[in-house]
Amino acid sequence: MLACNCIEPQWPADELLMKYQYISDFFIALAYFSIPLELIYFVKKSAVFPYRWVLVQFGAFIVLCGATHLINLWTFSIHSRTVAMVMTTAKVLTAVVSCATALMLVHIIPDLLSVKTRELFLKNKAAELDREMGLIRTQEETGRHVRMLTHEIRSTLDRHTILKTTLVELGRTLALEECALWMPTRTGLELQLSYTLRQQNPVGYTVPIHLPVINQVFSSNRAVKISANSPVAKLRQLAGRHIPGEVVAVRVPLLHLSNFQINDWPELSTKRYALMVLMLPSDSARQWHVHELELVEVVADQVAVALSHAAILEESMRARDLLMEQNIALDLARREAETAIRARNDFLAVMNHEMRTPMHAIIALSSLLQETELTAEQRLMVETILRSSNLLATLINDVLDLSRLEDGSLQLEIATFNLHSVFREVHNMIKPVASIKRLSVTLNIAADLPMYAIGDEKRLMQTILNVVGNAVKFSKEGSISITAFVAKSESLRDFRAPDFFPVQSDNHFYLRVQVKDSGSGINPQDIPKLFTKFAQTQALATRNSGGSGLGLAICKRFVNLMEGHIWIESEGLGKGCTATFIVKLGFPERSNESKLPFAPKLQANHVQTNFPGLKVLVMDDNGVSRSVTKGLLAHLGCDVTAVSLIDELLHVISQEHKVVFMDVSMPGIDGYELAVRIHEKFTKRHERPVLVALTGSIDKITKENCMRVGVDGVILKPVSVDKMRSVLSELLEHRVLFEAM
């Protein structure tokens, strides 16, 4: 097409041929010119065309070719040299461009072809993605169904509702024709049709559990397609024409149901399953899809979980009901016990008085009788009467004491007493009895044992006496040793008293008393019984010891009240025994005298007449009364500072002030609070000034308040000079004051 040899016609050409050539050239030129235009037009229309340069080239090529043919039109006839020139130029250019284009195409065409391949590849990719999208969508649908189903199933804790809901929801989601649940029977050998979707009341079908199809389903946790003819799937009475839909069965583990039911089942260890059977609608071309099967499996699992939750809940509700019942019963029992205790206490209280009165009469009159003239026989009788009645009186006291101790209504009477004298008294009391039995009694009191202590003297003596008395009672011969010392902290933690943890403090010490005897000893097995009341071992009882068995029990109670511990050790019968007890006693404040605050005794010895330079503080909000008190103290030689307000006093007070007189009958100003604050300010006793309360009335409340806040003395206003003098004397000597009226 491109080889156009334009030869100058040598001869006058055929007119027709010439005309045809002329026309063809014209059309060729036209075509050649229009092609680039079309190209440009369409490329402009399309958004992407990567080869613009090629286009230009191609366009140029075509245009030039067209131009050539066009110019050819003029060369058919005689033409001038100019035309020939133009023709030549056109041809040359065309030649150049065509060659260039030809060379370019070598590169371009493979590229264009590969574009095609890429397109194909992308199309395939797109198709693949589409497929995957479809899959994901299906999965998401399934997930949504599962969630919804789970929600429905788990929204209730009632077993029946759970199962019913499962079937209903599954039926809805998967558009099932029938859905059924087979539960294992009590014997575990059969499966019973428990729930179905369509039938309201399933007839009690049962199938044996060991069918091959059932085993197949139970052995895997996947949903298994089963034949529609298997006995578990024959749920619907179908007319012969219908083709039953596909059936799938899945196992539902009954997780812990067996654990919560009545435990009279033969087999509890095997895992038990229920069977869920799902049927697609008959006569439909539907098949079970993978995602539907997965859905079924997940639901089966969820059902199992929900069922176990329901079972647990049932169980816990039962347990709670049981507990409530027990609670009520216990409460009733407690109230009954309380009533009984109250009745007993009332009885005891009455009997206490009723028993003691005649007892008292008997003892008193018998002792009186003893004083009179009696024959020997009569005297013997009276002595026996006295002895017996004393014993009876002791017994009554013991019983009453013990019952009070058990109630916890017994309170120790704490007072300061002479500790050494307690031991001496016990020793004196027991010596005569012991010497009759030819037993020697030795008393060892440690040197560091304080002379005075704070505690319940009477009960302590009772305890020691009881222990020592027992020692004497059960020894036929030998010796008894009593040792008393202050227990040091290492020895306090005794392995024999494992739950006794004494705490050392500055105000208290622990008294340890050990009574060793060389008597009949005790069988180690009997030792625990010793402290139980009314219990006497055989050996003791036969010896007619005359005790009630209460002694040690009472001792133990007393010792416990005194925050201590008592125990007995013995190596065996005939090897003697050692009774030890530790009790907590308080340190007295002044070791030489047992002076009590508010004891109504007046000691008029050694009254100072003057107190030169004694620094005192007076607080009173009443100006007149304040200046009177100040004058009074000044008259006695004191260096007085008088204030009217609590804050002022606290500001001024220092260690130099020996005595503080404060009015506590000021309305609106709490003198007691001041006392507390002074105690807080001066924590060490010797730094603190003596606190004396001045009040217009000494009544119980005032006294109690004063004791409560730690005031050292109370004086009734108005104070006379002599009274003040003696008060100051007393205070400075003893740091403690009695009531001064």
Binding site: G631, L632, A634, H635, K717
Partner: protein, 154 residues
């Protein structure tokens, strides 16, 4: 009048005050506290008492004139007054205060008003008596004498 006579007059007057119950033993105590280091102790204390009492009585009257009487406040004032008067030894005033407090507890306005009058009456009585006594003492001192020691046996 010569010193001895004045002293006798003083003694009689004081005795009468005690016998009539205006003063009690506490006043004696006050007198005992008066010594060289504190020569005007009694006068000082009594003047303090007069000052305090005037104020207290005014407060009391005003408190009782209120439409709603604050018995707590009234009681507080009376308590103060009782304290001061007993420190001085003004026995009658003190007794009147005690009666007053009872009415305060009962919240009896009428009774309280009556008591205030009573207390005032007693106070002014004892005040004039004491002022007379002190005037006598001044005279004795001015004449160069000294105040005799009282020995009273009750």
């Amino acid at each position: 009048m010569e010193v001895g006579q004045m002293q006798r007059q003083w003694v009689d007057y004081t005795k009468s005050l005690f016998l009539e119950g205006f003063l009690d033993g506490q006043f004696l105590q006050l007198q005992q506290l008066q010594d060289e280091s504190n020569p005007d102790f009694v006068v000082e204390v009594v003047s303090l008492f007069f000052e305090d009492s005037e104020k207290l009585l005014n407060d009391l009257t005003r408190a009782l004139e209120q439409p709603t009487v604050d018995f707590k406040r009234v009681d507080a004032h009376v308590h103060q007054f009782k304290g001061s008067s007993s420190s001085i030894g003004a026995q009658r005033v003190k007794n009147a205060c005690i009666a007053f407090r009872n009415f305060c507890e009962e919240k009896n306005t009428e009774g309280c008003v009556r008591c205030v009058q009573q207390v005032k009456h007693e106070y002014y009585l004892v005040k004039s008596k004491l002022e007379t006594l002190f005037a006598l003492e001044q005279q004795i001192m001015a004449a160069g004498g000294s105040i005799p020691m009282l020995e009273l046996n009750f």
